[in-house]
């Protein structure tokens, strides 16, 4: 059940550049949070910006009642959050949203992340590991400096494939390039199942790739969110299920943020079946 709490920052790690890992105390998020779910949070003292911000749950520690976020400070809300000092308060509601669906036993989970979209996949790797499944994570950015969350994957022994647009680290090119290379090599032999989180164009590319190759894929969308609980209707995205004649606006906060990639009507996209029907 999503629970609203005044929480306290218990630890802050600066990872370099605008990237931080923040640890908060929040029993319900710590025990109930699943990969793909998120929290709505704002730094406690600041009345500005007016609204909270959504962040994927990076990791949970049920024993200590704590959870972690991986935050890129880019605007007023994220900067206020990353300026918090341990001991200072924040307001937090969570866990929220629909998590990723677990892969079947005969599926190879391939986790594809762009930038801060890596966040849900640390928790997901741990969840899969707990079920005896090893995930492969593809982590792309424009440049090496954008790939700041490498260490915890390495520490957990999760296979991590890096890629950078500028070739400064790992596979040179888009993260989808690294993914295709893996698929072209036949993967690990099981049926690949894609999970993607990152900027819209990347998700769109993953969806197109999945459609082309006939793979199952889930994407975690990144719309602007006002409330996180389905009441502001600011986060709606066009979704068209297989049996629907026409798209409908769905709340990414309650019916997502994770959607079946084939159900998403991508902006400006007339090639997918759904988008065609929606125009």
């Amino acid at each position: 059940m999503p629970t609203n709490r005044d929480v306290v920052l218990v630890d802050k790690q600066a990872l370099g550049g605008p990237y931080f890992v923040l640890t908060f105390e929040h029993a319900e998020v710590a025990t109930e949070g699943r990969a793909g779910q998120f929290v709505m949070i704002k730094a406690g003292q600041s009345a500005e910006p007016p609204l909270r911000r959504p962040f994927s749950i990076l990791a949970t520690d049920p024993a200590q009642g704590r959870f972690r976020l991986f935050v890129k400070a880019i605007g007023q809300g994220t900067r206020a959050l990353c300026a918090l000092q341990p001991g200072e308060p924040a307001q937090c509601l969570g866990p929220l949203g629909r998590p990723f669906t677990a892969p079947a036993a005969d599926e190879e989970p391939l986790l594809v992340a762009g930038g801060y979209g890596i966040a849900p996949f640390l928790l997901m790797s741990h969840e899969l590991r707990a079920r005896g499944v090893t995930a492969r994570v593809f982590y792309g950015g424009r440049t090496a400096a954008e790939l700041q969350l490498r260490e915890p994957f390495a520490a957990a022994g999760v296979p991590l494939v890096l890629s950078t647009d500028d070739g400064s680290l790992g596979f040179p090119g888009r993260v989808t390039g690294a993914l295709e290379a893996h698929l072209d090599r036949g993967g690990d032999g099981r049926r690949p199942r894609l999970y993607a989180c990152g900027p819209d164009p990347m998700l769109h590319a993953v969806a197109a790739l999945a459609a082309r190759r006939g793979l199952a894929a889930e994407v975690s969308l990144d719309p602007w969110m006002g409330c996180g609980v389905g009441t502001c209707l600011g986060c709606v995205v066009k979704i068209q299920g297989p049996e629907q004649e026409r798209w409908k606006y769905r709340c990414a906060c309650t019916e997502g943020p994770v959607f079946d990639a084939t159900h998403v009507v991508w902006p400006g996209d007339a090639t997918s079946a759904a988008a065609g029907a929606a125009r």
């Binding site: 999503p2 007016p50 609204l51 909270r52 509601l93 609980v229 502001c232 600011g234 709606v236």
Partner: protein
């Protein structure tokens, strides 16, 4: 001096509210979204999001934009339609001990009356809030609320089909809100909601496009509170009807401003998005205030503003 806690209950147009805090339309969904996050029975009441006869998609995105201490929205009244609401939502809300008001919308005078008529037999409706002031739909909405004759016509038409408490929601985008308050009173309103959002616009200067899909939207939040308090005070002096004070309330002191200005109760909008704990915080704050001022009843503060005349 008795030590029993002060009374927070008020009577609003014949509806008993256990306290003067009501969730504002469009900021609290259909109420059921908050089940499990907060105890709906702690609220004096709630107002559903705006309902038409049929389901609506609403506007394209982006639909929200932040401004200094404010929020612009152009949701465009996305919703399930009044019949689905009456069938699916009202029974769920009946499980909670809170007054349910329904926000009634229409593209035409007839549609307002039709929506009200559907609700006439629905159980669990405490009253109807008539939305003549939504700035985010192409026709209807604002047009009705910015012309006193149209305002009168809508309210009178709904009055004909309902015996329920009738509460028109006033638009702040007018020169003289008292004229509209009187038009509503003349047409048979039982109470007034004051105010809806101010029409505003924000521009992304990098793209030179509006931050909302269609340009303009409704401004809410603390930024508009001084305008809302002023209008509540003007309306309270113009008519005898009970008033819901609305606009930028996020703490007990904010709520008290409206009560002192003449509102019988208040509605909380944008603050719902920010903090689901806002009701408990305000309830505690109101009780503390009454105790501190040696008062026993929230009604003792309503309309107590002392204001010197200009010399």
């Amino acid at each position: 001096m008795s030590s029993s806690p002060p009374n927070l209950a008020v009577d609003f147009a014949g509806v008993k509210l256990k306290n003067p805090l009501v969730a504002a339309s469009g900021t609290f969904g259909y109420g059921v979204e908050y089940e499990g996050i907060l105890d709906l029975s702690r609220l004096g009441g709630l107002v559903s999001k705006g309902l038409y006869m049929t389901p609506r998609d609403g506007n394209p995105t982006p639909r929200l934009a932040e401004t200094p201490h404010g929020l612009l929205n152009a949701i465009g009244l996305q919703g399930v339609g009044v019949r689905a609401f009456a069938r699916d939502v009202l029974p769920r809300l009946a499980r909670h001990d809170t007054a349910v008001f329904v926000n009634v919308c229409g593209d035409s005078i007839d549609e307002y009356a039709e929506v009200a008529a559907v609700l006439e037999d629905a159980p669990g409706v405490a009253g109807l809030e008539i939305n003549i002031s939504c700035p985010n739909v192409k026709k209807g909405g604002l047009a009705f609320g910015n012309d006193p004759a149209m305002t009168h016509a809508v309210v009178a038409a709904v009055r004909k089909v309902t015996k329920r408490p009738l509460i028109p929601k006033l638009s702040p985008n007018v020169s003289d809100i008292a004229t509209f308050a009187r038009a509503c009173a003349d047409a048979g309103a039982d109470g007034l909601s004051c105010i809806n959002t101010l029409l505003g616009m924000a521009i992304d200067v990098e793209t030179r496009r509006p931050k909302l899909a269609y340009g303009t939207g409704g401004l809410s939040g603390p930024a508009i509170r001084p305008v809302a308090v002023r209008m509540t005070w003007q309306v309270a002096r113009a008519v005898k009807l009970p008033i819901f004070g609305i606009g930028g309330i996020s703490c007990a002191a904010d709520a008290l401003e409206f009560l002192i200005a003449g509102a019988t109760a208040v509605q909380i909008g944008t603050a719902n998005f920010v903090d689901a704990g806002v009701y408990e915080k305000i309830l505690t704050g109101l009780t503390d205030y009454l105790v501190r001022h040696g008062l026993t009843d929230i009604r003792q503060v309503v309309g107590t503003l002392e204001i010197p005349e200009r010399t």
